[in-house]
Point group: C2
Chain length 315, copies 2
């Protein structure tokens, strides 16, 4: 049995995960609002100890894995940057190992979600899989020959900042043309707001109670899929086309077996998947030889805990 | 000692390669003009036997490696397509192993060039390296943790057909926006011809003996570097900018230690490298954390033989 920990800016989730990928015990705590490292470290320790107490005499716990919303060193021992928590250069693995008696593994949160899908979800059984999470931004993880590609500086699989083509606004990272400025919740909300501001009629506004600022990605995608709303359809098409370019390029580079699309936006489901699959098909270099499977991710919020528990198998 | 074979549409080169990467014996033959498979197979066998005769009583030959200008199956045992030779689905490895008494390894020619640079050239000592060859088209090879990434269908590292942005002409592959329609010899010749046809004055035309159709990549790059010719500089800038986008994107995806630029265009040397390096620097997602080395390839025409001889170590 392994403990997986999903470390977030608002909550920390911990779970005891069995060898089938089921979470059989679970503990959660609100992340200390000041995000003070030593306080959060203590919170993590307490969560682990609570699970250890419950599991006592029943299960043997062999290790702890933690998904980190930030950048780690190549060997996954040091957190270099953790923007949501305001941390820089913290040795969470080492610090935690001195507090508990178990080995600790760390991994980037997108890597962890990709691992969870590979162990227990949409890419199970595939040795070469790319996972893309489409939410506020775009994250990813790449598994080649059953190993996570972390890169020599620990920042590989940074799929949201691939430059796709020129865009009408810059990315938060300072660059122009990043995938996540086209194919994220943020991007389609911005595009819908822009079109409606320009005078386009749309059911999106009604779905958002006539509040331009209240528009969310679900309003946009529901308008496209349920209402055939032109603005919604333009946003869906833009998201899918640019994601299609990114997937076709990744297919040229890595030629994996499967791509899995997760994150909040993926809840738009089969219609979204169809449009993405068509966009990719138009851009494949070897449509007769190398056509990847493209599927929706299966695991939701539990991916963070499940994937963290299995980190040791992929590093 | 190993034999490396560079199989091309016009010539077949074979060499005996020692463990320092030196070619110590060499044989060449003009490829049979009809490209008939059984004839070329016999030519390859004869080249190998000539080297075996010369090496007899002096060196032990353990294996043969062949660089193939085409697409192989994932396990590198079957040639799926070899456009320059007009071959489809030929079992060169198996056929050759029945004719000679040595194990035969095959690999894509761009992979082979990347291996040669890694064994004996510009990326020696690096475990994670991307090699890009910029000639008539753009090819590439990716080494991650000392292994060539071949992909599940054998077509990974197809770097020339990554879509970079919209272009004014379509690629031979049928897609629009492929890297090699911006950053290849063909692309800069086309752009120079277009500008001169539009009436731009340029020293390129003089270098090409006033023949628009005679313009080659060296004319364009020499005009840029030696004459500061505006058309030449526009072509150089276009090549470097789009290659810069490709390298920055590959850095986001793979985060390797080093990129090596080879092929005919790379003979433009340090000035070309400077412009490419600047183009990449502007587009890095983590300029403080993950800045790759970018270098020129060191090996020229011998890379095909040297890399082929070392194929067994990278598969």
């Amino acid at each position: 049995m392994k403990i997986g920990i999903d470390l977030g800016g608002t909550h920390i989730g911990a779970g005891l995960v069995n060898d089938k990928g089921d979470i059989i015990m679970r503990e959660t705590v609100a992340t200390s609002t000041d995000h003070e490292y030593t306080v959060v470290l203590d919170q993590i320790k307490t969560l682990i100890q609570k699970i250890q107490v419950q599991a006592r005499n029943q299960y043997t716990i062999t290790q702890v894995g933690i998904g980190i919303p930030g950048i780690l060193t190549r060997d996954n021992t040091l957190i270099l940057e953790c923007p949501n928590l305001g941390w820089k250069k913290v040795a969470l693995k080492k610090d935690l190992e001195t507090l508990i008696t178990l080995p600790v593994y760390m991994g980037n949160d997108a890597s962890v979600a990709g691992i969870a899908e590979n162990v227990y979800g949409s890419t199970k059984g595939y040795h070469n899989a790319v996972f893309m999470t489409i939410g506020t931004g775009v994250g990813g993880s790449i598994i080649i020959n059953d190993q996570i590609i972390t890169g020599v500086h620990g920042v590989a699989s940074e799929l949201g900042h691939m430059i796709i083509t020129e865009n009408y606004y810059d990315c938060n990272c300072g660059k122009n043309g990043c995938l996540e400025t086209f194919s994220s919740a943020t991007a389609i909300i911005k595009l819908a707001q822009q079109r409606i501001s320009e005078g386009a009629k749309s059911t999106i506004l009604k779905r958002a109670s006539s509040q331009l600022k209240a528009i969310n990605a679900k309003h946009v995608l529901d308008a496209a899929i349920e209402d055939q709303d032109p603005v919604g359809l333009e946003c869906l098409e833009s998201l899918a086309t640019h994601l299609g370019i990114a997937i076709a390029n990744l297919n040229d580079i890595l030629d994996p077996e499967i791509f899995s699309i997760g994150g909040g936006v993926s809840q738009a489901g089969e219609k979204l998947l169809d449009v993405i699959t068509q966009a990719v098909a138009l851009r494949l270099t070897y449509p007769d030889i190398a056509v990847p499977k493209i599927v929706l991710a299966k695991l939701g919020n539990d991916a963070g805990i499940i994937g963290a528990a299995y980190l040791d198998q992929y590093v």
